[in-house]
């Protein structure tokens, strides 16, 4: 027998932000939306820490002899920049903030499958961050974020153990988040929400979660092995004792290559949403994009050896990895074509999120194209460990992932906070970021091709001009990043109230939930009867 439970009438102003105000209601919350905000605070802070390291690096590179730090310190700077940006910003950013906030709402559920596990994920993340920040404060690590052995396991005296422990711990945060998302998408969809009615953001997050779950454990065991080797002085990766350093690289890149897809797939999911909303059109080739996400997740696991072409790896293995690396570009290209086709004959508006999306499409394409150059062994042998590689992945990670992240934060800001940000400032910031980004990183393609090695605190004088341009760009980029921090915070207090669906966007989070949503997301669980992106039925945005 069911027992009738009388519902409290929902007062207008009560939402997930105002429901309770105590510190413990935030620190012990199991509400996915509050957890998303906890993560938002953490990753933003860590982004600026990692960014500060980059600033010091670029300042140092103003002079061929190194302008401000010793080479030993420079080594620590690029290592910490890499570790923090990869594991504490790029990998968690979209999944833990936008993913946590939106996935339950997009599938029509009241929360993720395992809300307490979600909270635990955040705490694990924070503990991992603490260990890593400790290693920074205690003096830093200088092995590069890739921890190659036997340098990291047997030779350096820096705080490898603390940093590796921090990353190891944070890995479990990723695993649990991925697990949570997979189970949620399988088991918690609202009535009528079939797989092919899901927003493409959910498909991307699902594919990302598969990578989280399958790749991260291998990183964990690899870091554990470094730790054991450091502590026990045994020869697992030490050639002098019979170990194979290339084995470390296999284990490391088996995770770290799929990890780069963890960093970009969520961004691609955001772009699908933005391109549809700001073209007022259905996404072209929905199924193709959905399947491409899955294909990227799958094929991303088969290409890791392209980081190892010059490591001593077998030539034949290199050939196979090279061929597969060409193949993995195809699904990404399919997505770019489909986004472009979505734009065609769309009713396009150039709001800030759309500026980020358009920037993404261009910059990701450039970055991806240079990835194809690197997949060709002969080219890679020439530019491996040069600034060409750095430019390649920054085009994707910064020109792609970070811009998608910012686009998504802006797009869903009214939903998350109930406030509108000042659009002029947002568009200005987007433009500054785009300009600053290109000025920073395009010269690096040239530097790399001309032969400037990466991870060097100094360089030959002929590279001076390009380095100065790059540093100038970096300062502009830095300003560009600080602007959103400022006006988004400003909007919390002084921003206009957003209303439920200011962009007139499709999706359960816009159409069935308030801005900000109530704690349970929906008054009643929605029943879905139509596809995602039914823009032909939506009105015109009122902002």
């Amino acid at each position: 027998m069911t027992t009738a439970i009388l519902e409290r009438p929902v007062r207008k102003r009560v939402n997930y932000l105002t429901a309770k105000h105590t510190l413990s209601s935030w620190l012990l919350t199991t509400d996915h939306k509050r957890i998303a905000l906890l993560y938002l605070g953490s990753v933003t802070l860590l982004f600026f820490v990692g960014g500060f390291a980059a600033l010091l690096m670029r300042l140092n590179l103003l002079e061929p002899q190194g302008a401000i730090v010793h080479p030993e310190t420079y080594n620590k700077l690029f290592t910490m920049h890499g570790i923090i940006m990869v594991w504490f910003f790029l990998i968690p950013s979209i999944p833990t903030t936008l993913g946590n906030f939106l996935i339950p709402m997009m599938v029509g559920a009241r929360d993720l499958a395992f809300p307490k596990l979600n909270l635990l994920s955040w705490y694990i993340f924070m503990v991992g961050a603490a260990f890593t920040l400790y290693s920074l404060i205690a003096g830093g690590v200088d092995t590069g974020w890739t921890f190659y052995t036997p340098l990291s396991s047997l030779y350096v005296n820096t705080h490898v153990l603390a940093a590796a422990t921090g990353v190891f711990i944070t890995g479990f945060s990723s695993i649990l988040t991925g697990l949570n998302f997979i189970v949620t998408v399988h088991k918690m969809r609202a009535p009528g929400m079939t797989w092919y009615r899901l927003p493409l953001f959910v498909w991307s997050m699902y594919a990302t979660s598969i990578i989280f779950v399958l790749a991260t454990p291998v990183l964990a065991i690899t870091l554990l092995l470094i730790g054991l080797e450091r502590v026990f002085h045994v020869g697992v990766f030490d050639p002098g004792l019979g170990g194979d350093p290339v084995l470390f690289q296999h284990l490391f890149w088996f995770y770290s290559h799929p990890a780069v897809y963890i960093m970009i797939l969520p961004g691609m999911g955001v772009i699908s949403e933005l391109v549809a909303a700001y073209s007022r059109k259905r996404v072209f080739g929905y199924k193709a994009i959905a399947y491409s996400s899955m294909a990227i997740a799958l094929f991303g696991f088969f290409v890791w050896g392209h980081h190892m072409f010059v490591s001593g790896q077998s030539v034949y293995a290199g050939l196979v990895f090279s061929a597969l690396s060409f193949a993995v570009a195809i699904p990404s290209a399919v997505k770019v074509f489909n986004w472009t086709a979505t734009l065609y004959r769309g009713s396009i508006s150039f709001d800030a999120p759309m500026l980020y999306a358009l920037g993404f499409i261009g910059l990701f394409t450039l970055g991806g194209l240079t990835g194809l150059f690197l997949a060709a062994i002969r080219v890679d042998v020439h530019v491996h460990d040069t600034y060409f590689v750095i430019a390649h992945f920054h085009y994707i990670m910064v020109g792609g992932a970070v811009m998608a992240y910012l686009g998504g934060i802006h797009f869903w800001w009214p939903k998350i906070t109930g406030k509108l940000y000042p659009d002029i400032w947002a568009r200005l910031a987007a433009a500054i970021i785009f300009l600053g980004f290109n000025l920073t990183f395009f010269p690096q393609y040239l530097l790399g091709f001309l032969g400037m090695p990466r991870r060097y605190a100094m360089y030959p004088p002929e590279f001076h001009m390009l380095n100065v341009l790059s540093t100038a760009g970096a300062s502009i980029l830095g300003i560009g990043y600080i602007l959103p921090l400022a006006y988004l915070l400003w909007s919390l207090r002084y921003g206009e109230d957003a209303g439920q669906n200011p962009w007139q966007a499709t999706g359960l989070e816009w159409e069935a939930a308030a801005s900000p949503p109530v704690t349970e997301n929906f008054e009643t669980i929605p029943v879905v009867t139509q596809d995602a992106y039914a823009y032909e039925t939506m009105g015109i945005p009122n902002v």
Binding site: T2, E7, K187, L214, P217, L225, V234, D244, L247, I525
Partner: protein, 237 residues
């Protein structure tokens, strides 16, 4: 426009028609959904564990092919009969765990607690034998890095580095496995306590099943570790 009114049926009910079951968590609509989610969740977690151990297996495979003779010598330094005893103990514990799950499904609380305790005892026995082995290796000076001084007879013509590498894998793999056993014993102890205080039932049994899946998985790891570490047959027995 999407139809966002609530409809009658097992899902999509307004909150006050939702199944009233104290075991049903808020985010789920039915107990079956909760159970399915839990089961899928644990299997995904086990997949992560396969890859976690898998990194060690990968390294093992490489070094075994490179240094087979050394691995043979190393394997002969282990006590095969102890390994076999540990295998039998763990298989027995998997059996008692399966019986525990059966007991909760048929609603027999006493048998459930009994089988959980038996599983714990067998697990502890396994660990007892394992730690005796470790201690023996220490007294024989066969602990890599810390205390490794093999005799010529123990090396049997192979290099000390390759034998030390083998023993690294012995300690790392069985050590990681033992760590998982300890966690498993802790988990089952909690389950036994919950079972004793009637926090599980024939309707609300998923946590026992989930714990069982974890336990069986740890058993499966040992099923592979045993032949790979203890039973490497080389040019001599």
């Amino acid at each position: 426009m999407s139809e966002f009114a609530a409809m009658p049926g097992s899902r999509g009910l307004p909150k006050h028609h939702r199944e009233h079951n104290p075991a049903l968590h808020e985010q789920f609509e039915t107990i079956e959904q909760q159970r399915d989610a839990g089961t899928l969740g644990i299997w995904i977690f086990l997949a992560t564990e396969i890859l976690f151990f898998g990194g060690l297996f990968t390294a093992y495979i490489e070094y075994r092919s490179l240094y087979f003779e050394g691995f043979v010598s190393g394997s002969h330094l282990l006590e095969r009969h102890l390994g076999a005893v540990m295998t039998f103990i763990l298989l027995g514990s998997s059996f008692t765990m399966a019986m525990a799950v059966h007991s909760v499904r048929v609603g027999n609380r006493k048998l459930l607690v009994l089988f959980l305790i038996l599983t714990i005892v067998l697990g502890a026995a396994f660990l007892g034998v394992k730690f005796t082995e470790y201690h023996e290796k220490w007294t024989e000076h066969l602990v890599p890095g810390f205390n490794f001084h093999p005799t010529a007879e123990e090396l049997h013509g192979t290099t000390p580095q390759s034998v030390e590498l083998f023993l690294c894998f012995y300690f790392f793999m069985t050590g990681l496995h033992a760590l998982h056993m300890i966690v498993g014993i802790g988990l089952l102890t909690v389950m036994a306590i919950l079972a004793w205080y009637e926090k599980v039932s024939a309707e609300h049994y998923n946590r026992i099943e989930v714990s069982g899946l974890y336990w069986h998985f740890v058993d499966i790891i040992w099923i592979y570790l045993f032949p790979l570490l203890y039973l490497i047959t080389g040019s001599r027995h």
